[in-house]
Amino acid sequence: MKDLRIKKHPILGEAKFGKKITIFVDGKKFSAYEGEMIASALYAKGIRKLRATSKFKEPRGIFCAIGRCTDCVMTVNGVPNIRTCITPVQSGMRVKTQKGLGKWKK
């Protein structure tokens, strides 16, 4: 299966990924490595659409990758509007594609 992680690099050398962990993306089991940001872990496996805008339901994904543009927000462990490009994965974390402004889990 496709994996966009860069394992060997001519300048940066061999990558050191953290421990393999499981998170849940829209309810499905998903493998990631400790230390990775949610958005890049998803991107590495080809998941680039992270949310849909409220009015026109347009897809959005990573745009700035440094936590400034909020294009990458998702609902994480029930909390909406989490900037996934700067939020590290954690074992057992539940990540949901966000629709519009998202909803708080009651």
Binding site: K8, H9, P10, I11
Partner: protein, 165 residues
């Protein structure tokens, strides 16, 4: 069609480009640095004082061609990857070109590769003569290839033939 920007004709008028006579004689550096950028490590590293930038530091690097031994030390230090060494005296039919290379995988000694011109187009096939360990030069490898003599002014890059693993 795309207009060519990076050609031998363009570069040969700059002060880092050796004369035809010097190129024909023996191994020599070819510096393709053409703008007044504040930079001079090529000058600093040369043990033979064959490259002069001087003051101001934005001067173009000027080659003192009789001083250069073609040792190649200045190739991997150049941030612009703009320094090459050409040896037109390698044998009767071939010249060698030494160039900086920062991609993976590295070619191996003896491997056949595709020689590219400055625009990335295939010129001919080339044989890898040597590969200088990138670890010794902070990750910039120096590859020396042999190409038919007539192409030594054109070839400035390589592409591997083998598939990436």
């Amino acid at each position: 069609m795309k207009k060519k920007i990076f050609t031998q004709d363009y570069y040969k008028n700059f002060p880092g480009y050796p004369s035809k006579e010097r190129l024909a004689k023996a191994r020599v550096v070819v510096i393709e640095c053409v703008q007044d950028i504040p930079c001079n490590p090529c000058e600093t590293i040369c043990p033979r004082k064959a490259i002069v930038v001087g003051k101001p530091i934005t001067n173009l690097p000027r080659l003192i061609e009789e001083n250069c031994t073609g040792c190649g030390r200045c190739i991997p230090i150049c941030p612009g990857l703009a320094v090459f060494v050409v040896n037109n005296n390698y044998n009767d039919k071939e010249s060698t070109i030494s160039l900086p290379y920062e991609f993976l995988p590295l070619p191996e000694k003896g491997e056949e590769v595709i020689a590219l011109n400055r625009e990335g187009e295939k010129v001919c096939r080339a044989k890898v003569i040597s590969v200088l360990d990138p670890e010794k030069n902070n990750r910039t490898a120096v590859i020396t290839i042999a190409v038919p003599k007539e192409y030594s002014g054109e070839v400035r890059g390589i592409r591997l033939i083998r598939k990436n693993p």
